[in-house]
C-alpha cells in the first residue's frame, strides 16, 4: 500500500475547521429518548426554523409526518459502518451523515437540527458490540468526527430524556435502573430532562436527582418543562465543551468515584473519572498523554473533556467522543483563573482510575 506522507500529516485534530462561505454552522441538538418523549420532540420541533431527523416511527409517533413533505423532517434508519469491520470505536452512523447533509444543504438552512435517537431497551449489562445498534455514543461520535459534518454543523448538546416515575419506581424496588446504552447516554449527556417530576414526592424526586448526579457530573439535570422557556432551556448547552460548565467543587474526586463505582456495579458499568493538578503543564505532553489514552482505550472511553493549564496564561481545551478528540488553546477568562488547575473528565467503561491517574501525574510541567 502506498502512503502519502504529505496527506497523513494533517490529522483529525488539525483539520481545517472552516465552515461554508457565508453559511453559518448549524447547531445540532441530539435527543436520546428512553420512552415515548413525544412532548419533548414536539417542543423541540415547534420552531419553524428547526428541522428534525429521526426514524419514521419517531416522526410518526410525534405527529410530525407532515414535516417530511415540507422538508423539515428527514426520516432515517440506523446504518452503521465501522473500519476495520466490527470495530466498535470506529463505528459511524452513515445514515446520519447523509441525513444531516440533506437537511443542511438547502437554500434556506434550518437554524437548528434536532436528531432523535431511539434508545432501544438493552438486554444485559454488557456494552453494545453489534453494529446494528443505534446507540447515542455512535451518533455523537459520527457528528463530531466526520469532517463534512464538521464543516456544516456543530453539536450543541446531547439531551437525554428520562421518565422520572419509571426511574423512581426502579430505584425504590432495588432494580438496576438502566444498563449499557442508557447508562452511557446518561453519563455523557449535556442535559438530562426528567419528565413526570410533578408526580413524584419531594423525597422520591430528590433520590432520582441524586442518582442521576452520581452518573453525570458534567451536564445539567433539570425537570422537563414546557413552553418556550422549556424549549430554550434545551439549547446552547455545550457542557462538554466548556471547561467549567459546572462548579468544580461539585465534581467528585477520583477517590470518591472509585468507591462509588465499586459499590454500585460491575466493571462493565460506566464510570466518570475526574483528575486535577495544580501545575502548569507542558501543552504537547498533556495532549500527547490524552491522545495515547484515547488510542489505548478507544472502545472503553465514551466522552472526554479537559482543560489543561499551560504557560503564558493560556489553557488548552480538549473535548472528544470515543476515538476523536479536538483541541484548542485559549486565554484564561481572567488572570485570577490562570492560577487554577488542570482538570480532566473521562467517562467510560472499565477504566482503570489508578493507571490513568498515574499517567496524568506523570505529564511534564512546563519548563
Amino acid at each position: 500500500m502506498n502512503r502519502r506522507t504529505d496527506m497523513t500529516l494533517r490529522s483529525h485534530g488539525e483539520s481545517r475547521r472552516e465552515h461554508s462561505a457565508g453559511r453559518p454552522s448549524v447547531p445540532i441538538t441530539v435527543l436520546a429518548r428512553t420512552g415515548p418523549a413525544t412532548d419533548l420532540i414536539r417542543l423541540l420541533a415547534a420552531d419553524v426554523e428547526t428541522s428534525v431527523i429521526g426514524s419514521v416511527e419517531t416522526i410518526a409517533s410525534a405527529g410530525l409526518l407532515g414535516l417530511v413533505r415540507s422538508g423539515r423532517a428527514h426520516a432515517t434508519s440506523p446504518d452503521v459502518a465501522s473500519h476495520p469491520d466490527r470495530c466498535v470505536c470506529c463505528e459511524l452512523r452513515v445514515d446520519l451523515i447523509d441525513a444531516v447533509r440533506r437537511a443542511v444543504l438547502v437554500r434556506t438552512p434550518p437554524q437548528r437540527l434536532v436528531i432523535v435517537i431511539d434508545q432501544l431497551p438493552s438486554s444485559g449489562e454488557d456494552p453494545p458490540r453489534s453494529s446494528d445498534e443505534a446507540d447515542v455514543v455512535t451518533a455523537l461520535h459520527t457528528l463530531q468526527s466526520h469532517r463534512e459534518l464538521e464543516r456544516l454543523t456543530h453539536v450543541d448538546g446531547l439531551v437525554v430524556h428520562v421518565d422520572g416515575r419509571t426511574l423512581s419506581t426502579r430505584l425504590t424496588c432495588g432494580i438496576t435502573p438502566w444498563s449499557g446504552r442508557e447508562e452511557a447516554a446518561l453519563a455523557i449527556a449535556d442535559h438530562i430532562a426528567v419528565s413526570g417530576a410533578d408526580l413524584l414526592t419531594a423525597s422520591a424526586l430528590s433520590r432520582v436527582m441524586r442518582w442521576l448526579e452520581g452518573i453525570n457530573s458534567v451536564g445539567r439535570i433539570l425537570r422537563a418543562s414546557e413552553g418556550e422557556e422549556g424549549r430554550q432551556g434545551l439549547f446552547d448547552l455545550r457542557a462538554w465543551h466548556h471547561p467549567h460548565a459546572k462548579p468544580v467543587e461539585g465534581v467528585p474526586t477520583i477517590e470518591s468515584l472509585r468507591l462509588r463505582g465499586a459499590a454500585r456495579s460491575s466493571e462493565s458499568s460506566v464510570k466518570t473519572i475526574v483528575l486535577r493538578r495544580p501545575d502548569v503543564l507542558d501543552a504537547d505532553a498533556a495532549l500527547g498523554w490524552l491522545r495515547d489514552l484515547v488510542a489505548e482505550e478507544p472502545c472503553r472511553l465514551l466522552r472526554v473533556k479537559a482543560s489543561f493549564l499551560i504557560g503564558g496564561g493560556e489553557r488548552l481545551r480538549v473535548c472528544g467522543v470515543r476515538s476523536t478528540i479536538r483541541s484548542s488553546a485559549a486565554a484564561t477568562p481572567s488572570p485570577g483563573r490562570a492560577r487554577g488547575e488542570s482538570v480532566v473528565w473521562l467517562v467510560g467503561r472499565g477504566l482503570d482510575p489508578h493507571s490513568i491517574s498515574n499517567g496524568f501525574e506523570s505529564i511534564e510541567r512546563t519548563q
Binding site: N2, M7, R23, H74, A81, D85, V106, R107, E148
Partner: protein, 333 residues
C-alpha cells in the same frame, strides 16, 4: 504541443442560467443532451428552458434518463418516481438509493438488494440479495455486470443470471468509478482508503492510498490510468500501473480555497471541480496542474455533470442556481 496550447486557451461561457426553487441536488444529462436537474425540495427542471415541475418526491437520492423522453427518480421513502412512462404513481420500492440504466435494464440498488426491471416498470422486478447493506454507490461495469457498494461491502452482480458473482470485503463504500471496458473499478471507503479492483481478479484489490477522511468525490479517467479524487481543498491525481498499483508520488493540487464539494469528469477527459465558496474549476487532461477555466456561482456548488460530448457542463449550487456552461478548447492557427 499544439493540443496543449489549445487547451490552455479553453473558454467557458455560460450558455443558460436558471433558478430552481431550492438547492440543486442532482443533475443528469440524457445521451442526446437533455438536462434533468432535481432540487432539494423535489421539484425538477426537465430539458433546456423547460418548466420546473412541482415537487415530485420528498427525498430524491438518484435519477436517470430512460431514453430521451422519460426519467426515473429514486427515493427511499417513495420508491421510484417516473415521468414519461406508462406508470401511474410511484413504483413502491422502499429503500431505493441508487439507480442505473443500461440497454433497457433499470438497476435499482437499495437496502441489501438490487431490483432489476426489464423494459419498463409494469412487471415485478427481479430482486437479487447483495448482502452489502444500504447501497451508497452503484455503477455499470459492462455487459450484464454491475458493482454495488454498501455499508457492508462491495458486490459484483450479474443482473442476467440474477446472482452475486463476487463479494469483496470493502466495508463502508462511499463512492465508486469504473471503466468497465478496461476492466477496472476504483472504490473509496469510510476509512479514507481507495481500492483499485481489476475485474480479471476482483479478489486481489489493491489499497492504493489512505486519506485522512472519506473520499466522496472520485473519478477514473477515460483511459483508466488516472484516479482523480478530492479531499477537503486538495485535488489528487494518482497514476495507476497495469497491475493496479499506484504511482509513488501522486500529483496534489491546491487550487480551491474552499472545500471541494462536487466533481465530475467528462468522457473526453476534461474535469470539473466545485467548492463550497461557489468556485468551479475546469481542468484539461493535458494540463493537470492548473485549471484552464474558472466560473463563479452563488453559494456552495452541489452538483456538476458533463454531457456525453464533454462540451457542456451543468453546474448547480445550494442557492438553486443552475448554469449550463459551453466549454471549447482553443485552436492554434
Amino acid at each position: 504541443m499544439t493540443a496543449l496550447a489549445g487547451n490552455l486557451l479553453t473558454t467557458a461561457i455560460v450558455d443558460s442560467a436558471t433558478e430552481l426553487p431550492d438547492a440543486v441536488r442532482l443533475v443528469r444529462w440524457s445521451r442526446k443532451g437533455r438536462l434533468l436537474a432535481v432540487a432539494a425540495d423535489g421539484s425538477a427542471l426537465v430539458g433546456h428552458g423547460g418548466q420546473i415541475t412541482p415537487p415530485m418526491t420528498p427525498d430524491a437520492r438518484d435519477a436517470a434518463w430512460l431514453g430521451e423522453a422519460a426519467l426515473v427518480i429514486a427515493d427511499p421513502m417513495a420508491g421510484l418516481v417516473t415521468a414519461g412512462v406508462d406508470q401511474l404513481g410511484p413504483v413502491p420500492l422502499l429503500g431505493a438509493h441508487r439507480i442505473g440504466i443500461h440497454r433497457g435494464h433499470t438497476v435499482v440498488a437499495g437496502d441489501g438488494r438490487v431490483a432489476v426491471f426489464d423494459r419498463g416498470f409494469s412487471s415485478e422486478p427481479h430482486v437479487i440479495a447483495t448482502g452489502t447493506g444500504v447501497s451508497h454507490a452503484c455503477t455499470h461495469l459492462g455487459g450484464v455486470l454491475w458493482a454495488i457498494g454498501g455499508t457492508r461491502g462491495l458486490a459484483l452482480v450479474d443482473v442476467a443470471l440474477g446472482c452475486v458473482e463476487e463479494q469483496i470485503e470493502i466495508p463502508g463504500v462511499v463512492a465508486m468509478s469504473s471503466r468497465g471496458d478496461l476492466g477496472r473499478l476504483v472504490v473509496s471507503d469510510l476509512a479514507g482508503s481507495i481500492h483499485v479492483v481489476e475485474l480479471a481478479d476482483p479478489s486481489a484489490a489493491v489499497e492504493l492510498c489512505s486519506h485522512v477522511d472519506p473520499v466522496r468525490h472520485l473519478s477514473l479517467s477515460p483511459d483508466g490510468d488516472t484516479i482523480v479524487c478530492a479531499d477537503d481543498d486538495e485535488l489528487t491525481m494518482w497514476g495507476i500501473g497495469v497491475d493496479g498499483s499506484g504511482a509513488e508520488e501522486p500529483l496534489c493540487v491546491f487550487s480551491h480555497e474552499g472545500t471541494i464539494s462536487a466533481l465530475d469528469q467528462a468522457e473526453n477527459g476534461f474535469l470539473a471541480t466545485g467548492d463550497d465558496q461557489g468556485v468551479v474549476h475546469i481542468w484539461s487532461p493535458l494540463l493537470p496542474g492548473y485549471p484552464v477555466a474558472t466560473l463563479h456561482l452563488e453559494g456552495e456548488v452541489t452538483a456538476l455533470a458533463w454531457d456525453v460530448s464533454g462540451n457542456r457542463l451543468a453546474c448547480g449550487s445550494v442557492t438553486g442556481q443552475l448554469s449550463v456552461v459551453e466549454t471549447r478548447a482553443g485552436c492554434i492557427a
